[in-house]
Amino acid sequence: MSSPTSPVLPRGKTRIGLTMNAWLVYVFFYAPILLLVVFSFSNDRNVGRWGGFTLDWYRAFGENEEIQQSLSASLRVALISTVVSVVLGTMAALALERFSFRGKKVFDGLLYLPIIIPDVTMAVMMLLFFSQLFDALDAWFGLGLSKGFTSIVLSHVAFSISFVSVVVRARLAGMNDQLEQAAFDLYASRWQAFRHITLPLIAPGIIGGALLAMTLSLDDVVITQFVSGPGSTTLPVYVFSLIRRGVTPLINAVSVVMLAASITLVALSLLADRAKSSPQPTPSKETDNA
């Protein structure tokens, strides 16, 4: 929201407490990450036993085509499923918070189910669903399909929509549509009102939902494993399959590369944003970073 309504930090002890808590949370978040980074340079196949400095794991990552393929599959799946689920989830959230329509209650309930269902149950049901769907398509249309990239994306979207809509709804709850009404009074079209009023207002919710969807997609093992086919393994599934023979610092190295890449991306987008918004500060900067 525009700056005049932005919260201010209270003074005194509360301020110190809040700042300390924020630091504590970051220390908590980054302690294992620090350890993960350190051991990616360790010349020992066990994470947790320091074996001297080496870059071998990074070299191994450079040479390991399986990992590179699975990483690229993961990123593609995460990207597509995030975009799709953000669009569908945001629309669903708007519909539920702003409108009343027939079937709303059923939809509301249906939307919570993917959050509530146990992982492995969803995995088993998607497995049965796709194998029966492909059987049917084969019988009716002679399409010989097998599971792979598409079934993974479809499944990820199926659980991400709900998470996105919950976060966006938390943003929308209690916000009324008077600003949009005012825009209509000023002859804005529906699209204009959405683009210039609604979207900036709910942007933090959308960003949050997108981050959540992406994280869920990048982390999912069980469901992905059950709906993937030959050659479509994602990184988490690949890593999970390694646990019987030991997860080596190679996976740390892959994680470090991903972390470095995402930090670089964030930095670049901030720079681009600053360059774009420097001439005239917009009232709602946060939305441009989306």
Binding site: D44, R45, N46, V47, G48, R49, E66, R102, G103, V106, V124, L127, L128, F129, F130, S131, Q132, L133, F134, D135, A136, L145, S146, K147, G148, Q225, F226, S228, G229, P230, G231, S232, T233, Y238, F240, S241, L242, I243, R244, R245, G246
Partner: protein
């Protein structure tokens, strides 16, 4: 006034899915029917690229390259972390995989579930290379109609001798006898496999029973034993037991032979550790190659199995992953130090037992394990 439309839509979807479920049921029986015939393939025939579904780090990448070059097909490799996850994926159909490598008991599960198709033995002449004990008479596939052994190994205990001392007794008592646990410093520093059959099986062995016992009284005894040991455990762990042992977090670890070898080899002082199958006996497991029931490329699959059963290729497997080879013809090509390693090839094989599928009693094993943990 619009309500009926929604009701109708929902009813329609419900009906559709019932049909889908019914279709699924019938397609299961289809696959069982088709599981009766083996594909008509000839030796060395290929019918497309191979999709291999295997355990991770279980095959020398050079062997894959060699196969691709020799037969002009490409091989895609995907990996699973457990038999239990692989089985439903493959059995459900349309998995797209050709060759899988299930363990012993899982072979019989897959046969019963229609997950694998019978082998066309004419297309796999190298079956003749198998040692007699592996060629037939394996409890999970008595005539070898559905599977060909890939590698075998044992389940036993890895110990840190620097804590227990060199004279540690080779017994499951190290885990199950409170006095011995205390004496050898293992109390609180033990990991057991997080697997009902293996861990309950170890307790059954310690008690002098078969690990495939289907006696409720014997199972009850084993359950009591496991439940009593939980307080002295560090963890139930099927994945990192060897690393926990190496990092000093544990002293006694229950696990698979090959993992310990790799781990001990990378230690600063390999002699600090020992692996053995306790004198009471333990599990011998065999992983096997099998062709998926709806494999898109059954002939390439047969050619691949035949390729791995070749003497030199079989030896290359063992030299790479340190598990024992069921391939008699391969022995001359296996590194002597691997052949002489008692961890890979235990000297006394008489007390070893396969885990067999016990049908309905599997539920009892799982429940007993859950109840033992509390």
């Amino acid at each position: 006034m619009r309500d009926p439309r929604w009701t109708r839509l929902l009813a329609g979807i419900f009906a559709l899915s019932l049909v889908a479920a019914a279709c699924g049921g019938s397609s299961d029986s289809d696959s069982e029917a088709s599981a009766g015939e083996s594909p008509a393939c000839t030796v060395g025939q290929t019918d497309g690229d191979l999709a291999l579904y295997n355990w991770s780090e279980y095959i020398d990448p050079d062997l894959i390259t060699k196969f691709e070059a020799e037969f002009g097909v490409s091989v895609s490799e995907d990996f699973y972390d457990s038999n239990e996850a692989m089985q439903p994926i493959v059995t459900a159909g349309n998995s797209g995989f050709d060759v899988i490598v299930p363990s012993d008991y899982m072979v019989s599960v897959l046969i019963d579930a229609g997950g694998v198709s019978p082998l066309n033995k004419d297309a796999i002449p190298n079956l003749a290379n198998l040692a007699p004990e592996f060629a037939s008479g394996l409890p999970f596939d008595p005539n070898g109609d559905f599977s060909a052994p890939y590698q075998w190994g044992t389940t036993g205990l890895g110990v840190d001798l620097s804590v227990t001392g060199e004279d540690v007794p080779r017994t499951w008592g190290l885990v199950f006898d409170p006095a011995l646990r205390e004496q050898y410093g293992a109390a609180g520093s033990i990991t057991l496999l997080n697997d009902p059959r293996e861990t309950i099986g170890a307790a059954l062995k310690y008690l002098g029973y078969s690990l495939n016992s289907t006696s409720e009284a014997e199972l009850e005894e084993a359950k009591a034993l496991v439940s009593e040991v939980v307080q002295d455990l560090a963890a139930f762990d099927s994945d990192q037991y060897d690393e926990l042992l190496a990092t000093g977090d544990t002293v006694v670890a229950h696990g698979f032979s090959g993992n310990f070898i790799v781990q001990f080899d990378s230690a600063d002082n390999p002699d600090q550790y020992a692996y053995f199958v306790p004198d009471e006996g333990g599990t011998r497991w065999v992983d096997n190659m099998a062709v998926v029931h709806d494999a898109p490329h059954p002939c390439t699959a047969h050619t691949f199995i035949n390729f791995l059963l070749d003497a030199e290729n079989g030896a290359a497997l063992t030299n790479w992953n340190f598990y024992a080879s069921p391939n008699a013809a391969a022995v001359p090509f296996i590194d002597p130090e691997v052949l002489e390693d008692p961890i890979v090839y235990p000297t006394d094989q008489s007390k070893l037992e396969f885990i067999a599928d016990t049908g309905d009693f599997e539920i009892n094993f799982t429940d007993a394990f859950t109840e033992a943990k509390g």
